[in-house]
Amino acid sequence: MKLFPFAGPALGAAGLALSLLLSAPIGAQSEAPASEPPGQEQPGATRPIEQGRMGGMISPIEPLPFRSELERRRFKALTNELRCTVCQNESLSESTAPLARDLRMEVFGMLQDNRSDMEIRQFMVDRYGDFVLYRPPLAGHTVLLWGGPLLLLIGGLISAVVVIKKRRQAL
């Protein structure tokens, strides 16, 4: 076998193309209704501070009356992996949007009701779609998304082996 001079760059470019192709479903996931659609608005800044169910303002730094350390950790984990539906790439835990505040309270309320993490995530998906999950489920339309990196890794390893072998032979 002869050394193929463009093997490296060509494979690199092919990898890039493949990753872009694979990013299509990622885009479908992450871009869905990412930004506020034109003309839509959020309740908010000009309004008086909302009173949450706990009787105080709910902000990312507001301490909520958790019953245990475990509950606090679950709350943190859940709000970190749920997307704020009205912000560009912010999780529920980071966002100061009023809707995010409402949703945090909803998560907190469900924790108080002893609902499981699965149930809480499902509650959000039922209303806002898979888009709210930073980790989308493994399903038919997300197979490429989840399997893509593995495919790229295998492809890269195979091409690396091939290139190394060729170079050895050329020496």
Partner: protein
């Protein structure tokens, strides 16, 4: 010589890929709510003019209706208001106002100034029913058929084009309900 064309081929492939995928990104953003095709969530909320009257989405079962999410703080709601008024007059189905995270006084003043063509309003001050509806922002307009299934959701203000589209869909729903 042919080998030198390989990177060019890859490049052209990339260009083709981007040309195909970039224009559809906008469509993906307009992805519909998972609630479309499902039953409208059942919630009971007080009225706006009549806070003592509790109204439920279940009361409307048996006929198609429109549900329009608005708030007096929402400028786009003012923009779409002429079309909402027309929907209230011309659609021939109840037009329910979903007053979201608003103050009663301000909402009533807003209606006094711009007109109130809604059949009635439901007030969601805390925003919990809005979460059940999967509301992102205001305005939003839902079309619910006589079986209580959400058939369509429009995000953002209604303009002439959207108005025509909504009227067509409402006519469809009315025909279905009649047969």
């Amino acid at each position: 010589m042919i080998r030198m064309l390989v990177p060019l081929g890859v490049f052209l492939g990339l260009v083709a890929l981007l040309l195909i995928s970039l224009p559809t990104a906008e469509q993906r953003r307009q992805v519909t709510s998972p609630l479309v095709g499902r039953e409208v969530p059942n919630f009971t909320l007080p009225g706006l003019h009549d806070p003592d009257v509790m109204r439920s989405t279940a009361d409307l079962r048996g006929q198609p209706f429109l549900l329009n999410v608005w708030g007096s703080w929402c400028f786009s709601c003012r923009v779409e208001h002429p079309y909402i008024e027309r929907l209230g007059r011309e659609a021939g189905v109840p037009l329910v106002g979903f007053n979201w995270r608003d103050e009663r006084g301000e909402a009533l003043e807003w209606l006094g100034r711009f007109g109130d063509a809604w059949t009635f309003h439901m007030v969601d001050f805390e925003g919990r029913a809005a979460i059940d509806l999967g509301v992102y922002g205001a305005p939003e307009t839902f079309l619910v058929d006589h079986r209580g299934i959400i058939r369509h959701k429009h995000i953002g203000p209604v303009d002439q084009v959207v108005f025509d589209d909504l009227m067509r869909r409402i006519l469809e729903m009315r025909t279905e309900a009649g047969s």
